[in-house]
């Protein structure tokens, strides 16, 4: 494992209470604000950096630029009215919100979604995962000045958005997975067009591999950057590719199977070195896994049968008193919805566990120390975080 080892002689000493002994008037240290708009993250978030020369010695994250109060809003919406809200918590990959929310409402209401709906839900989640990774790959390369990768991945992401559009009726906020099932089945000829899209993505991924992963600049900048010690995985609540790149096999699809994953043949993609490069590579291979899963799903899924369970009248749907936690493996890790129902027509509490929360705040504040300012954006992207799910 190649580690990034800066010279620590310049760095401030720690005071007995654990804080750093930084004297800004000395001229040795400088406060530098990065954000809220910057290439390091999909969305808005600020870093209050203390730098010594080019290197970061302290970091305070500031979130809230995208706070729209989703969780509180939902306490004043009926159960069906929360359905158009949840997708907005994560723009590039909204489907996990729809699924987790729907599954939570279904569980508390004692409703089982039809099997065919489960297959379509799984298909949508894998499609969303590819989309999310495409955004990530473009961002990761872009944070290091490689603009063309983003152009390619945006192109194939757009093809996948076309598939979303014809399946769900919308490109970004699909609003297709309702409590009780899904809105509709696959349109005619969908499988064929999906196969063409998957082939285009595979072809693009080969190009991405050549231009990004077999690239001296990319390697030089990312190998050894932001290594997550496997011992930090559990204390810091690290999940998803960030954990798997560290050799810790965490994948909700396998650990807590949901939807139709038990019927699919797959192994979680693992890494070893736990640096930014490995994380990018895990995600690249995860794209290939998702392509394989989509092919399996399309081959195995039933093509007739109901798509919606019998649900109560949504205009006055009262969910029985209870609470539940529903989780799913999104492209960034474990996505979870903790839903508390008090028997009324409104959720008592909806708590969204976005994986970005731990990755973008606690983990970043720790791993950013000693990093060169020019690598901060690359480090942030390597955790693959989306601010709206930090500040629900």
């Amino acid at each position: 494992m190649a580690l990034y080892e800066p010279d620590r002689s310049q760095y401030p000493a720690k005071k007995p209470d654990g804080t750093l002994d930084i004297d800004l008037t000395s001229g040795k240290y400088l406060k530098l604000w990065q954000g809220p708009q910057h290439p390091g993250i999909t969305g808005n978030m600020s870093l209050e950096l203390t730098v010594c020369g080019d290197e970061v010695v302290d970091c305070q994250t500031h979130v809230g630029y995208l706070h729209r109060g989703f969780e509180k809003l939902m306490e004043r919406r009926t159960y069906i009215q929360c359905f158009p809200i949840v997708c907005r918590i994560c723009v590039p990959e909204p489907d996990f919100n729809e699924y987790c929310y729907a599954a939570a409402v279904e569980e508390l209401s004692g409703i089982t979604a039809p099997r065919r709906a489960d297959w379509i839900r799984t298909l949508i989640l894998e499609m969303g995962r590819i989309n999310s990774y495409m955004m990530y790959l473009g961002g990761q390369a872009g944070s290091l000045g490689m603009g063309v990768i983003g152009q390619w991945t945006t192109y194939v992401r757009d093809l996948m958005l076309d598939r979303f559009e014809e399946l769900t009726g919308a490109r970004i906020y699909h609003m297709f997975i309702l409590p009780g099932g899904v809105r509709d089945g696959l349109p005619d000829g969908f499988e064929k067009r999906m196969e063409e899209t998957l082939r285009e993505i595979e072809s693009t991924m080969k190009d991405v591999y050549e231009a990004m992963f077999c690239n001296a600049v990319f390697k030089k900048r990312t190998i050894g950057l932001g290594v997550i010690d496997p011992a930090l995985i559990d204390p810091y609540g690290v999940t998803g590719p960030n954990a798997r790149a560290a050799g810790v096999a965490k994948d909700v699809r396998r650990d807590f199977p949901y939807l139709v994953y038990p019927e699919l043949d797959f192994e979680p993609v693992m890494g070893k070195d736990s640096d930014a490069y490995t994380r990018a590579d895990v995600r690249r291979r995860d794209v290939l896994l998702s392509i394989d899963l989509i092919r399996q799903i399309l081959a195995k899924m039933p093509h007739d049968g109901p798509l919606m369970a019998k649900i109560p009248n949504v205009l006055h749907w009262k969910v029985p008193r209870g609470e539940t936690y529903i989780r799913a493996e999104c492209s960034r890790g474990e996505y979870g919805y903790y839903l508390v129902a008090d028997g009324s027509g409104y959720p008592r509490r909806v708590n969204v566990r976005g994986p970005s929360y731990t990755h973008a705040v606690a983990l970043l504040e720790r791993l950013i120390i000693n990093v060169n300012i020019s690598d901060v954006a690359a480090l942030m992207v390597s955790f693959h975080t989306y601010p709206p799910e930090i500040e629900r």
């Binding site: 919406r77 009926t78 069906i80 009215q81 929360c82 359905f83 158009p84 809200i85 063309v148 192109y155 076309d162 559009e165 014809e166 769900t168 009726g169 919308a170 906020y173 609003m175 309702l178 809105r183 509709d184 349109p187 190009d207 050549e210 231009a211 077999c214 690239n215 001296a216 600049v217 390697k219 030089k220 109901p306 798509l307 919606m308 019998k310 649900i311 109560p312 009248n313 949504v314 205009l315 006055h316 009262k318």
Partner: protein
């Protein structure tokens, strides 16, 4: 560092030779997908303005607004959804919950305008270029966000019910009622149409909550005869229910009955509340039918002393003496009446006003009068033979059955008429025949064809199940008699009932004649009123319109102290009577509080 890592990035240059993937002209080259959720369309002719789209919209993007050229009518609020695209998030829940499927979406997604207010528009009314778009999101046929299937009402089977007068409809259990109540979308079209404007969505919500006390209070706000209306109401509410556009309407009538059935009579007083302090004013009500009882109830609640005068030996009017027991059991009618009487209303039975007591006497003893004497005179077809003693009026027979008299009941009977009263006598005769002969021999004929028969659909179905033979579309030419016996009647096919002006003027095809045998004929073609109890000088002061006393919105006749309601003014049905009684009570109360002079 491998040499490959230095060379490999140069592979990006191969893209120089690829065609660009960008679409040059997305406006023309890139239409939305067939199920794209683009701009809204609304078929305003199909739309009923129920407002479920407005209710479900979590953005508050939809307002129901009045629209030129569309006015409110039964089953249509006259309002149409106006959508604010500054708020809309294109979730399409409005499309999913639309009761008529009138609201859909086009696959158009580009709209440029300098005026920000332009993006608040009424689809289908404000013409847009996508109004005729063939593609776009529509709710799939089997995708429903509201339950479509009505909860089945358990009923006695034809074999079980034909031999007795036991109530046919068994009523919902609590669980069934909750399930049925869940189907309501609370649009309020029912409330607008109900003559009594009952708070239907509210009492249905009370059923869902299991709060029968609230439900009963809501019922009594507008209707003091819930057990009756819960069984025999003409349920105009159901004929306009938004849910009926895809499936059966919500069983509003059975749900009303369910609330009343759930609460014992001895708890009514505590739930509905006490009456207001006595005003010292006295009101006489002539006729103890639905209108009279309703007026008496609300007047008593307002603190007035009320006395009802009824010619027959029991209160209820047509509810008791017209409607057979298998549709409205007497004990349930008695329950409703008992609560009205429990408020201190005095009931004087077997007293025919105009014969046993003069109307002028009442005028002297009371501050105001409400007359609701109903339609108790039968109408004759006046065909040859109709004056024979074995030709009866349905209304007379039904009254005699209720009074416990034995009526003439041969093995073969002919009923003329296609309304609910004709059905009542046909099915009553069928039951009596079954008891007497072990088989049914009733033939019912009417001018109207089956699809436009005035009788309720369920009456037609159930009477057939009970063995009544229906011959719709025939009118009588004469009744065949032989001395003191009736042997049958002859009918010809009716081509049309009304002329082009909508006036009653039946046309017949005399070539198509049928003969029906029967030892009795029952005429049931409508009823008339008997106002002979009104003194001539009073009658001269009352303005009549089409044979009915003309009343204002408080059901006051042209005589200030005389109010009228029920079948002699409107209807004929129970719920109009109840609504009239209530409105008259409000009017009388105002009249009395203002000193009884105006």
């Amino acid at each position: 560092m491998k040499i490959r890592d230095l060379l490999s990035p140069f592979t990006v240059w191969k893209n120089l030779f690829r065609d660009p993937v960008t679409i040059d002209d997305p406006v023309r080259q890139r239409p939305g997908a067939p199920r794209y959720r683009g701009f809204h369309k609304n078929d305003v002719k199909k739309c009923i303005g129920c407002g479920t789209c407005e209710t479900i919209c979590q953005n508050g993007a939809i307002d129901m607004v009045p629209v030129d050229g569309i006015s409110a009518k039964d089953g249509d609020s006259g309002l149409r959804p106006r959508i604010d695209y500054g708020r809309c998030c294109w979730c399409a829940l409005c499309v999913d919950v639309c009761m008529t499927k009138s609201l859909t979406m086009s696959n158009d997604y580009q709209w440029i305008d300098r005026d920000p207010d332009a993006f608040r528009f009424t689809p289908g009314v404000d013409r847009k270029k996508w109004d005729d778009a063939a593609l776009g999101y529509q709710r799939p046929d089997d995708h429903r966000l509201t339950p479509e299937e009505r909860v089945h009402m358990k009923e006695l089977g034809p074999d079980a019910r034909i031999g007795s007068f036991i109530e046919i409809v068994k009523g919902y259990s609590v669980e069934e009622a909750r399930k049925e109540a869940d189907r309501c979308v609370a649009c309020g079209l029912c409330t607008a149409t109900c003559p009594a404007h009952m708070a239907i969505p509210d009492y249905i919500a009370a059923i869902r909550d299991g709060d029968y006390e609230r439900g009963l209070r809501l019922l009594y706000d507008t209707n003091p005869l819930p057990e009756v209306c819960g069984r025999v109401c003409t349920h105009k509410c159901e004929s306009v229910c938004a849910v009926r556009h895809e499936g059966d309407p919500v069983a509003i009538r059975w749900l009303k009955r369910h609330i009343a059935d759930q609460v014992p009579l001895d708890q009514y007083r505590a739930i509905v509340g006490a009456t207001e302090p006595a005003t010292g004013k006295k009101v006489a009500v002539v006729g103890a039918g639905p209108a009279g009882l309703s007026a008496a109830y609300y007047l008593a609640r307002m603190g007035h002393a009320v006395e009802i005068f009824e010619a027959l030996p029991a209160a209820g009017g047509m509810m008791r003496y017209g409607i057979p027991e298998y549709r409205l059991p007497y004990d349930q009618l008695d329950k409703d009446i008992a609560f009205v009487m429990g408020l201190g209303v005095k009931l004087t039975l077997n007293t025919r006003v105009g014969k046993d007591i003069a109307l002028d006497d009442l005028r002297k003893r009371f501050d105001a009068l409400f007359i609701s004497t109903g339609l108790h005179l039968g109408r004759s077809t006046k065909v040859p033979g109709a004056d024979h003693p074995k030709v009866f009026q349905s209304i007379d027979l039904l009254r005699r059955v209720t009074l416990g008299e034995e009526i003439f009941c041969p093995g073969e009977a002919i009923v003329i008429g296609g309304g609910n009263v004709a059905m009542d006598i046909a099915r009553t005769l069928a039951r009596l025949q079954m008891r007497k002969y072990g088989k049914v021999g009733v033939t019912l004929l009417c001018l109207e064809t089956e699809d436009v028969m005035p009788a309720d659909r369920e009456e037609i179905i159930e009477s057939r199940e009970e063995g009544v033979i229906l011959r719709p579309g025939y009118g009588p030419t004469h009744i065949e008699t032989d001395g003191d016996r009736v042997t049958g009647a002859r009918f010809v096919r009716c081509l049309s009932v009304f002329d082009e002006n909508g006036r009653f003027a039946p046309r017949f095809d005399t070539a198509d004649e049928i003969a029906i045998s029967g030892a009795m004929v029952v005429e049931s073609i409508g009823q008339g009123m008997d106002l002979s109890y009104l003194p001539d000088d009073l009658k001269n002061q009352i303005v009549f319109e089409r044979g009915r006393p003309k009343v204002d919105r408080h059901f006051r006749t042209s005589v200030p102290w005389l109010y009228a309601g029920g079948d002699i003014v409107q209807g004929p049905d129970v719920i109009h009577g109840i609504a009239n009684g209530h409105a008259a009570a409000v009017g009388i109360d105002r009249y009395l509080r203002e000193g009884g002079t105006t």
